[in-house]
Symmetry: C2
Subunit: 319 residues, 2 copies
Amino acid sequence: MTETVTVREVGLRDGLQMVGAVLDTDRKIEWCRREAAAGVAAIEATSFVPPKLLPQFADAGLVAHAALRIEGLETSALVPNLKGAQRAIDAGLRKIDFVLSASNEHNLRNVRRTTDASLDDFRQIVASRNDGGRRDVALGAGVATAFGCTIEGRVAPARVLAIVEALLEAGADAITIADTVGYANPAQVRALLRDVLALAGSRPVTCHFHDTRGLGLANVCAALEAGVRAFDASLAGLGGCPFAPHATGNIDTEDCVFLLESMGFDTGIDIEQLLALRRDVETWLPGEAFAGAIARAGLPKHFSRAASRVSPVFHEGIL
Amino acid sequence: MTETVTVREVGLRDGLQMVGAVLDTDRKIEWCRREAAAGVAAIEATSFVPPKLLPQFADAGLVAHAALRIEGLETSALVPNLKGAQRAIDAGLRKIDFVLSASNEHNLRNVRRTTDASLDDFRQIVASRNDGGRRDVALGAGVATAFGCTIEGRVAPARVLAIVEALLEAGADAITIADTVGYANPAQVRALLRDVLALAGSRPVTCHFHDTRGLGLANVCAALEAGVRAFDASLAGLGGCPFAPHATGNIDTEDCVFLLESMGFDTGIDIEQLLALRRDVETWLPGEAFAGAIARAGLPKHFSRAASRVSPVFHEGIL
């Protein structure tokens, strides 16, 4: 049996957040639809931030509404605060993700409050959801700058773990650990994620890596070894963080899927269909920079999906 | 104690092999000198191929002569055949590397003979060195397309291991395993390199990865786990193989060193000095494509070399 790994597409949120022009709502919906058709099972479709702050996401409700109707797709959205969470729940989402930064300075620049204040915000969001009788909505919590910060530099693993513990205690249904600025290395990832998984127990843990310094996919491998089986990735490597200089570049979805499938993990995703979608997205976003190696070099000759393989040659090497 | 990993610079050979213009001999020598000044301990300085075939290396003897005089630098060169090996030994080299392809088709296109015929060539080279009383010259043997081939597709690990065994039996003093076309994945690397290391015993094993499909540094990590402690890399990611379509891009030296140092391995190399050299090399090779993430994004804030660290935070994660 081939082991399954989930790749969540975040290009529509983390990617479009960094893009100059506002992408047409219909194209966002087509993007979601074609990700699902390619076999992508989870998508972060939008962000419920104040539209005045990020006009790109003024159509958050519409995109969420349409994405929720796509069969086989788990649609989630980012929420920066209580108001965003309420809007997301009202839009019908069953999975929403709150994010705070382990780096206090990064959190201050990102949402103008301390990490502790953001923790309180998360507790309020949980209380509001529970008071509203909406425990059917899963509340994920993400820890940004978990491996370092362009402003503070080092971020102590003990601090990240304390924040994860506080989020779990507050009622987080899932945890995301993010290398927002591309500082993580595989040794650090393996060590931290082992501890995070131990804290999280049965609650799912996702890793969100950026490829800013070239180590994105090496970090995916390290997280796999620690036991992580869910990753965020962005089509064509779009994305970054507007408050972290040079932090462009989520790991590329096509390359991440290629890595996983070639290692023998079943992602359920057809890379060729992703590449066809990518070619269209490139035309929708003229002037943007796109990353990714598979789009340039093509798949290896005789490449086949992990789930379709029978040769023991390709199974023996799985972790 | 921090563990040591050797990064051998191959930009002057694998990189320049793919470059349009012939680089001035003095610049090649400056390149070698500044690599050594940055702390690089091993360099593949040139290739003893027929000058008519690759005019870039018509100055092989001159470059080798100068590189051999640089203190602290182990200079090696590639040799494709007996004549090249004799020229390299005459030039004073104490380490020469012969390469054949595990893929028979790739070997035919590359050197116009079968892999078996190339194995015979290697035996002849060993015999010629021994007959000449030059056992002080170390004869390395590299296996190209060890993880797959753009012409043949899959290459069986059993075939690679049989070739490694034959090379060792023939008298190879060191083995290099090369992903010439960028097909390798970390699971495959870990499995194959464990077996290669077991065969090689005390004879050193180097991995030579290309980043064609984005997995170069992830493959370095997998090889580290298998026990490999020596890697080839090319400044600015220059390089490829003229007979393998799209196979541009050795792993980038600066990024590889960043990976290793951030994981806590001591390479002895100063990344800032590499970056300064890279900036000059870029001006020497106008019109060429350069890769690498660290050159674009810069080192993380508070980054320090592995050997200079005292904080246990950065040691706990070592493999």
